[in-house]
Amino acid sequence: MIYWQIFLAFFIPGILGYGGGPASIPLVEKEVVDRYGWMSTQEFGEVLALGNALPGPIATKMAGYVGYIEGGILGSFVGLFATIAPSLILMLGLMAILFKYKDSPEVKNISKVVKPVIAVLIGFMTVQFISESQSSLGSIQTIAIMAISYLLLEQLKVHSAFVIALALVYGAVTGI
C-alpha cells in the first residue's frame, strides 16, 4: 500500500514535469505535503535546501530520500523507479518517431504551454515558504535573510551550497 502511494506520488510529477527536474518540485510538494502529509512544509524545505546544496539531479534526490523515509530501501527504490522509468521508457520508445517529428511545432509547444503553469506552482511555493518563515522567524529576520541571500545568489553569483551553509551556521549560532 505504502509502496503504491510512493509510486503514485513520484509517477505523476515524473510524467508531467516538463522542463527538467526543477519543474517537478512543486508537483512533488503537492503530493508529499498536501496529499499524503508525509512531511510539513518546513521539513520539505529542509529536504529541498539540502538537495539543492548537494550535487546531482534534484528530482531523483527528492524521490530517493522521501521514498526511503516512508518505505525504507525498497521505498527509496520505488520512488526512484517511478521518477525515472516512465519518462525514460517513453523517450527510448519514441526516439524513432521523435526524430522524425522533432521540428513539428506541436511537439515543441508542449513544454512551452506547460511552463506558465510551472511558474505559477513554484510562485505559490515561494509564497508558502515565505509565510512559513515569517511565522517561525518573524518578518524582520525573514526579510533580512531573504535580502542577503538574494544579493549573494543573484548579484554576486555565490554558489547556492555556500549560501545554504551560511544560513545553517547563522541558525546554529543564533540558536545557542
Binding site: 505523476i12 508531467l16 514535469g17 522542463g19 527538467g20 527536474g21 518540485i25 512543486p26 518546513q42 524545505g45 529542509e46 535546501a49 550535487p55 546531482g56 539531479p57 528530482a59 531523483t60 530520500y65 521518477t83 525515472i84 519518462s87 525514460l88 517513453l90 523517450m91 527510448l92 519514441l94 526516439m95 526524430f99 522533432k102 506541436e106 511537439v107 508542449i110 513544454s111 512551452k112 506547460v114 511552463k115 506558465p116 503553469v117 511558474a119 513554484i122 510562485g123 511555493m125 515561494t126 515558504f129 512559513e132 518563515s133 517561525s136 522567524l137 529576520q141 531573504m146 541571500s149 545568489l153 554558489h159 545554504i164 544560513a167 545553517l168 547563522y170 541558525g171 543564533t174 545557542i176
Partner: protein, 175 residues
C-alpha cells in the same frame, strides 16, 4: 565513470548537469558529436520528467545496451541519494536540539529566494516562447484554476498537453 562524475559535480539540479555531460560524452569519450548531443537534448526537453536521468539512460543505452543504461542511471542517481539520506538522517536525529531546530528555520527563507528566482526564470522562458500576452493569460488562468478553484495541477497540465497534441495526432494518423 562519465555519469558518476557529472552526477557528483552537477550542483543545482538536473539542468546544471548538461554542460558537464557534454564535456564527458562529446569531448572525452566521443560517444556522440555535438549535433547528435544537441538533438538528444532537444528531444529530451520535449519529454516530461527529470532531464539528467533521461539523458543518462538514453546515452547509456546507445553506448552499452541495457547494461549501459542501468550503469549510467545508477552512477548518476545512487551516490547523491545516499549522501542525502545520510546527511538528513543525522539532521533528523538531533531534531529536538534547539540550535539544530533553528538551523532548519533559517534555511527556509533562503529556499524561498531560490524558488522565487526559479519561478521568475519560468515566467521569462514562457514569455520568450509564447510572448507576453499568451504567457500572462496562461498564468492568470492557472492561478485561478489551481489556487482559487483548487484544481490538481496534474489535471491542468494534462489538459494543456492534450490541447496542444490533438492537431499533431490528427495529422500523423491521417497520413
Amino acid at each position: 565513470m562519465a555519469f558518476f562524475r557529472t552526477g557528483m559535480l552537477g550542483f543545482g539540479g538536473g539542468p546544471a548537469v548538461i554542460p558537464l555531460l557534454q564535456k564527458e560524452v562529446v569531448e572525452r569519450y566521443q560517444w556522440m558529436n555535438d549535433d547528435e548531443f544537441g538533438d538528444t537534448i532537444a528531444l529530451s526537453n520535449t519529454m516530461p520528467g527529470p532531464i539528467a536521468t533521461k539523458l543518462a539512460g538514453y546515452i547509456g543505452y546507445k553506448v552499452g545496451g541495457v547494461w549501459g543504461l542501468l550503469t549510467a542511471l545508477a552512477a548518476s542517481v545512487i551516490p547523491t541519494v545516499l549522501l542525502m539520506v545520510l546527511l538528513l538522517g543525522v539532521l533528523q536525529r538531533y531534531k529536538d536540539v534547539p540550535w539544530v531546530q533553528n538551523m532548519s528555520q533559517t534555511v527556509v527563507p533562503v529556499v524561498a529566494v531560490m524558488l522565487g528566482v526559479l519561478a521568475w526564470n519560468f515566467v521569462q522562458q514562457s514569455q520568450k516562447a509564447l510572448g507576453w500576452k499568451i504567457a500572462i493569460f496562461l498564468i492568470v488562468i492557472s492561478v485561478l484554476l489551481l489556487e482559487v478553484i483548487g484544481l490538481h495541477p496534474a489535471i491542468l497540465i494534462a489538459i494543456l498537453i492534450a490541447v496542444v497534441l490533438i492537431p499533431f495526432i490528427k495529422r500523423v494518423v491521417s497520413k
